[in-house]
Structure formats: C-alpha cells, structure tokens
Symmetry: C2
Amino acid sequence: MPPASDLTAHTGYWLRMVSNAVSQDFARKVADEGVTVAEWSFMRALYDADAMAPSALAEKMGMTKGAISKLADRLLGKGLITRADNPGDKRAHTLSLTGAGRSKVPILAALADKNDAEYFGILPTEEREMLHRLLRTLADRRGLKTIPVD
Amino acid sequence: MPPASDLTAHTGYWLRMVSNAVSQDFARKVADEGVTVAEWSFMRALYDADAMAPSALAEKMGMTKGAISKLADRLLGKGLITRADNPGDKRAHTLSLTGAGRSKVPILAALADKNDAEYFGILPTEEREMLHRLLRTLADRRGLKTIPVD
DNA sequence: TATTGTTATACTCTATAACTATA
DNA sequence: TATAGTTATAGAGTATAACAATA
C-alpha cells in the first residue's frame, strides 16, 4: 500500500477542525436570534455604514451579486433591512438596517464575544495572543480581506 | 448607536478567515482530481480500513447516515468505492475503495501536503509548530475528534 | 420493537449565467 | 455596449424524518 500522509500531520486539518467547531457553535447561538452567520456578517457590515449598495456588500463579503440578492431577500422578509431606490441612478439600490435590525446587532455582537471567550479563554493570555497574532500574520501574508461567511 | 464589538477583535474571525482560505484552495486542488473535500475525507478514512460500515463512517466523520449514503452514491458513480452486502447481517453493508480509489488516495494526500506547505511554510518553523500545538490543544480541550469535512 | 441503511424533503451557501432596466 | 441588480438553475453540504428490510 503506497504511503498516504497522515491527515493529522497537517496544520490545515486541525485548523479546519477547530474553526468548524467554533463556527458551528456560533451558528447555533445566532440561530436562537433567528439569523444565520452569513446574515449576521451582512448586518454587521451595514451597521458601520448608513446604507450600502448590493455591489459594495458583495465586494466586502467576497460574495457574488446573486448571493447578496438572495441574502437581502431573506433579511427583508425578516424585517431586518430595507431596500430603497437610488435617486441618482435608477439601476442602483441601497440597503439599510431597519430599527429592528440595528438593535439586534449589539445582541449578536455580544454572542460573538461570548463564543470567542468560550473557545479561546481556556488558553493562557499569552498563548491566546500568540494564536491571534499568528492567524493575523497568515491572513496578511495571503492578502485575505473578505469577511468570512461560512 | 449602541456599541457593537469590532468583528476583527475576535480570534474566531481570523481563524475562520484563514481556515476558509486554506480549505478553498485545497478544494480547488482536489477538484482537479475530480473529488470534493468531503469525498477525499471519506476515501482517506477507508484507506486505513479494508472495509467499513456506513454507520462507522458516519460516526468517524461526524455526519448523519443520510449524508453518508449520498456521499457513497457519488463515489460509487465515480467508480472510486464499492458497496457490498454483509453476509452476517443482511441489513448491513460494507464500503471499500476500488483499485482506482485506492491509487488516488496518495495523490490526494500529496496535494494536502502541498497545500499545507503553501499556507504555513511562510511561518518560521518555531511559529508554525506553535500554531500547530495551539490548535491541537484547543481541539483536545474541546474533545473534538470527527474529521472536518467542509 | 430496535437497528441498518436508503430515500425524501428542505434549507443554506456557492457559482454561473440569463435576464431586465438603466446608463 | 456596459453596468446594477435580480432571478434561475444547479451542485454540495447539513438535518430531520419517513421508510423498507432485517434482527
């Protein structure tokens, strides 16, 4: 039998295992608030800007325009965002948080804080900061910048 | 506007960003060999055992029986595994790699090696080992053990 | 009755591309 | 023609549950 390297020899294997666990736990937390992780990222992006064009959100989140439209439809249905015409360019739209959506963001942000503390709080401060720094270094070197969604 | 903690303050944010990038690059590599990451994990698990029951694979991969059935159907269609009846228990089946499937595993394993080197090779050895160790610590403390699929 | 496995249904995310309206 | 956005379609993953066959 030809050698096939042990899966667990790969750093990527452990990275995915831990990342999936953290994300799945976070997904369960925000599901209790009625949103998905993608919807949370979407709302968080809108929170800092009064209004954004779908194309700007697509760029920021590394998603296609089609994916943004579908996500926006769901958030519209939940009453968390509004869609408005752009007076200057009749092709363009702008998306904004509703009052309900805006007041939900800090609640979701608190869940993100809690999730981070649960997972990484078990490490000594020094190691936790080391991990954070190493991950940021890898993201920087690779030029990663879009908000991770899944 | 109530405060909403900065996304980038969360270690989980960077973990997910780096993990997604590593996984997506790996997905592209194995796609050139005609398989998905889930299919690769499935084949890698079968490589160490001559034959496995779908239920055993479900347990090992943290997937439901239904998901395993669907995955097995696709791998059967690609001629990479076979499904056989179990003589001892007529309800049970066993899944095994075909010759084609078995010879593809080392090729895919080499792609995993390459992907890991591309992503983590930019770190000094000491930091790379530190990252690996921190991730394993987190996985251990959380009792994580199923093969990450997505 | 409980268990093994398959099948059905539904939802999320992703990607591509066709399409509408406007520039 | 090009651009902004929506809509359609399809594939992959996940979860729940209904189902058939066997124990």
